[in-house]
Amino acid sequence: MIYSLCFLLILIGLYGVLTRQNIIKIVISLLVIEYGIHLFLVLQGYRTGGTPPIVDSSIDKQLWLQQSVDPLPQALVLTSIVIGLGVLALMVALSMRIHERYGTFDIGKIKKLKG
């Protein structure tokens, strides 16, 4: 159930990318897609009432395996957020430069390229 909500978020973002005319709105839609994916990743490691995934010598390994949450997706999401930040910074910088040159954010009016 909750997984389908993630995909709903992703699809909302996709709709935004495909239909919006404003560059900033397209950038935001891409972020919405990304957040949907992050949520999906984190949910895979989630376990209701789970314990933190920390092992020390006093913990029984078998019991720990049954109780703890999966730490890997959390690490993946952190990495993915950092990558997303890099791409976002680049996209915003490009949008600013385009606004400088063309004086508009409307992709309908930015079309020196064709063919």
Partner: protein, 489 residues
């Protein structure tokens, strides 16, 4: 030898960060450091030929840690990437002089190489995604590097579509993790047979086809490419079309399909159709172009289609043809892009209608460009002929005669648009005002050498075919890696 494997990623990454510091000391350090690093990488990849090892990052054993896999296929890719990057690096020394803040260009070039090397080496799905993003971010920035209105527009288009494809690939990766509980490609391959072809696996596969198809610019996902390649500086167009889109698109797709998912007839059918349509559409669109770099960009789309089509035949020899053509394409297409850079500098325009008679002013460019054009069109004895020959014969052998005929027809179309370039750019007599306007200038040595090396490469790579058409040196073992099927732990 085993311990040297991570250096293939570490050297370019380290040098990339070192360059901004080193230029404070001496501005020439950027060119020097990056070319030295690329030379070292070529030597490293040469030393890896024939090695079959798995390097465990940080000493963690296979299912837990990140693996770097060296086999014949990744060695072939590493040789292609680093060899071409070195040639492009040397060409850049003079070609990038007109641009400001050159050291940033070299840093980005290093990151591009680091990411592409990482993609060729890695044995972990999420790690693959990270390296792919390093490559992608570097190439977005490099496409915008020349700082003209068009290049920002092209780069934005590339960022939005590239970001979308990365997201799609990440959904696929997380779906696979949800189903199998592992990201290690070896472990994933063995878990895949236990899980079977359930709906999430099929969905992930479809997402990979779309995502990597966009990175490789297969029709209908090709729209970013004809804008991005002409907008980038010539050496970057060469590198992007020669290796980057081939490695992060075609290589990864082949690796995942053959070695992780296990190939089946449906996938082969899809690859044949996607590749075939790409080949035809790219070739036909190239004929009508007047912008020389845009023409080469469409021709790039056509050639990547040919490679995917050959993979789709699914026999060992078909894969040999595909990989052989991939390597050949990494010689003649960069050569053509480098020539287009020279033509643009000499003529002051990229429009083929406005240039004439450059052949006498640029004899070396004209000669090497002719070699590249003929190799692309598949004229014997140049390298393009042998790979196309293999692909056509395989097509007939596997009862796909219609596709084989299409390949031959598209080769003739390729000859047509290449001759258009030759005739417009190099032949005829230049108008008097144009002759006076621009001095007769053959390219500087550092620009001529890379072009001559690539032209010799076009001829020399046909020697691979002479070493045995069934099983060429380097390419044959690489094809065997794919055809050995799903990885066993």
């Amino acid at each position: 030898m085993n311990n040297l494997v991570p250096l293939l990623v570490a050297i370019p990454l380290g040098v990339g960060f070192l360059i901004p510091l080193a230029v404070r000391w001496k501005p020439q350090m950027a060119e020097l450091l990056s070319n030295l690093a690329l030379f070292g990488l070529v030597l490293l990849s040469l030393s890896l030929i024939g090695n079959q090892t798995i390097y465990h990052m940080g000493g963690w054993p296979t299912p837990n840690g990140i693996d770097l896999r060296i086999d014949d296929l990744s060695t072939l890719m590493l040789l292609t990437i680093n060899g071409l990057a070195l040639i492009v690096g040397i060409y850049s020394v003079v070609a990038m002089q007109p641009y400001t803040s050159q050291h940033r260009y070299y840093s980005l070039l290093m990151f591009l190489v680091a990411g592409t090397n990482g993609v060729a080496l890695t044995g972990d799905l999420f790690n693959l995604y990270v390296f792919m993003e390093i490559t992608a971010i570097a190439s977005y920035a490099l496409v915008a590097f020349s700082g003209e209105d068009e290049s920002f527009e092209a780069s934005l288009k590339y960022v939005v579509l590239g970001g979308l494809s990365s997201s799609v690939i990440l959904i696929g990766i997380s779906l696979l993790y949800a189903v199998t509980g592992t990201l290690n490609m070896t472990h994933l391959a063995s878990r895949m047979s236990e899980v079977g072809e359930t709906a999430p696996v099929k969905f992930a596969l479809a997402l990979f086809f779309c995502g990597f198809g966009l990175k490789a610019a297969l029709v209908p996902f090709h729209t970013w490419l004809p804008d991005a390649y002409p907008a980038a500086p010539a050496p970057i167009s060469a590198l992007l079309s020669g290796v980057v889109s081939k490695v992060i698109g075609v290589y990864v797709l082949a690796r995942l399909l053959f070695n992780v998912f296990g190939i089946n007839d449906d996938m082969l059918l899809l690859m044949r159709w996607m590749g075939g349509i790409t080949m035809v559409a790219g070739g036909l669109l190239a004929v009508g172009q007047w912008d020389i770099k845009r023409l080469f960009a469409y021709s790039s789309i056509s050639q990547v289609g040919l490679i995917v089509l050959a993979l789709g035949f699914g026999t060992t020899w078909g894969v040999v043809g595909a990989l052989y053509h991939l390597v050949n394409h990494a010689t003649f297409k960069p050569l053509l892009f480098l020539c287009s850079g020279q033509i643009e500098t000499a003529a002051g325009t990229r429009d083929l209608r406005q240039m004439r008679g450059l052949g006498r002013r640029l004899p070396i460019t004209a000669g090497t460009c002719m070699v590249g054009s003929l190799a692309l069109a598949g004229i014997p004895p140049l390298n393009g002929f042998w790979s196309k020959l293999i692909i056509v014969v395989v097509g007939i052998q596997t009862d796909h005669t219609a596709w084989a005929v299409t390949v031959v027809v598209m080769s003739i179309v390729a000859l047509a648009y290449q001759l258009k370039v030759q005739q417009r750019a190099f032949y005829g007599t230049a108008d008097a005002p144009m002759e006076k306007q621009l001095p007769v200038s053959e390219s500087p040595v550092l620009i001529s050498i890379p072009m001559i090396v690539l032209a010799i490469g076009c001829i020399a790579l046909s020697l691979l075919a002479l070493s045995g058409l069934e099983h060429p040196l380097l390419v044959g073992p690489a094809a065997d890696v794919l055809m050995r099927g799903v990885w066993k732990p």
